[in-house]
Amino acid sequence: MRERWSSRTIFIMAAVGSAVGLGNAWRFPGMAYNNGGGAFLIPYFVALITAGIPLLLLEISIGKKFQTGAPSAFAKIHKGFEGLGWWAVATGFVIVSYYTVILAWSLNYIWSAFTVAWSGGAEGYFYNNILQITDSPGILGGFSLPVLGTMVLAWIAVWWCIRHGVKSVGKVVKWTVLLPVALMIVLAIRALTLPGAIEGLNYYLKPDFSALLDVNVWAAAFGQIFFTLSVLFGVMIAYGSYLSKDSDTTTDTVIIAFADAGISFLAGFAVFGTLGYIMHTSGVAIGDMSIAGVGLAFVTYPEAISQLPGGALVQVIFGLMFFLMLFTLGIDSAFSIVEGVVTGLVDKFKWNRSKTLLAVCFAGFAGGLIFATKAGLYWLDIVDYFTNNFNLIVIGIIECLLVGWVYGAGKMRAFFNETGTIKFGKWWDLMIRIVTPLALLVISVMWIIENINTNYEGYESIHLLLGGWIVVAATIVIGFVMMLFKDRNRHIPADDKPIGVDG
């Protein structure tokens, strides 16, 4: 008997926890600022409706329909596509191997927050004390011990959260979803009551409608939607596989997608309110600050915390709140990816779940060691750039075409509409068969053209080859190799026979 979510609310919270991660806090606000400010919300909303919700619904429904992880689910659609599922799972494995390193940085900062250790200069503290960064990706420089130590803790936390499968996930997500949202609300309120905050918000929300004519802005909106929902690396398929056949996936999908978007939007208030305060106190223009990614979380924001009025205690409290928020935002995304990998392996090979989880955690830790070196940030940047922009996009295109054209979009729609309260019309078929794959294709073509012309961030070609294309190739090879292993005790119910084989 397959495990089940203990309740509908727990499933929704687990899926929201997986979808809402670091990107919501540090990617969305900066992306809005760089792509038309408030006007960016228009393509973002269009992308949410036309691509995000259809794709999320597709993945949850695949899991629910076939009651198995991504590789076996794709095998049931067409035997030749099991490798696509493994490719997705392998991509997730690569992502979690560096994602836990970011969690490790957050753990370091939770400790550092007790003394506001970065107050002497946030940039120097991050790059010299925590990362101990070298001059180039080619100079590994040994391990950064603060990162390595906390990376062990991060992996223990991931293992602990999912040690009993969806049962323990159900208990943990109550904290890892509600706590960061509560912290984010407090941080946003604090930010908005600081001098200069409203001016900062103006940068976030003031619309530049001419940006809507720029195809790059639309590509950025669709890209953000694809990356923010935890789709395309097997997580949502695994989570969907623990749903019972009578669950209402359509309504749940709408809630998950809007909750994710709403949290992203909320994060912008905390970020731009704070940036406005820095601008007000130090006179630095927002355009000259790190407003996204690692720079925002570990340099700009800590800098703002050390300038907060109210004394040392206030700075300690807000430092703790911010980095606890980052850690709890990320941990449920990390363990959901590991759960996707474990589900894929256990469903195919019928291995013992606990031992498989331990093995995956050890392998993830070993694979992530490169990111704990003093050149780790460079490799993290390169691997993240390639796996996110190439693997996920290509997997998305194939997945949509597979379900849309091979399995049949209408058949899948009939399946989820049967128990769904919100009914999806034929427009969903159009999105999955044409619009979503087309949007992904446009994004991938633009990405390839950009990378043919210039080396990403000026990295040397050899480093981009090693951390980028070779990692991409390795995940594809893993996909094919895993497909060659025979399933153990595979039983395919009559109505789930691979339709590409004899159906």
């Binding site: 909303f45 103006n202 929300l205 003031k206 749940d252 809630i255």
Partner: protein, 41 residues
């Protein structure tokens, strides 16, 4: 903050949190209906 920024704020709040509230209200109503159906049976 400029008027256009305020307008975008209102639009975003209505669309994003309105969508979330709609989804939750549909889920709550369908759960209630399912429960009353179970009780009747």
């Amino acid at each position: 903050m400029e008027t256009s920024a305020w307008i975008m704020l209102v639009v975003a709040v209505v669309l994003l949190y309105g969508g979330l509230a709609w989804g939750i209200s549909v889920a709550v109503r369908s759960e209630r209906q399912a429960q009353s159906k179970q009780v009747a049976e």
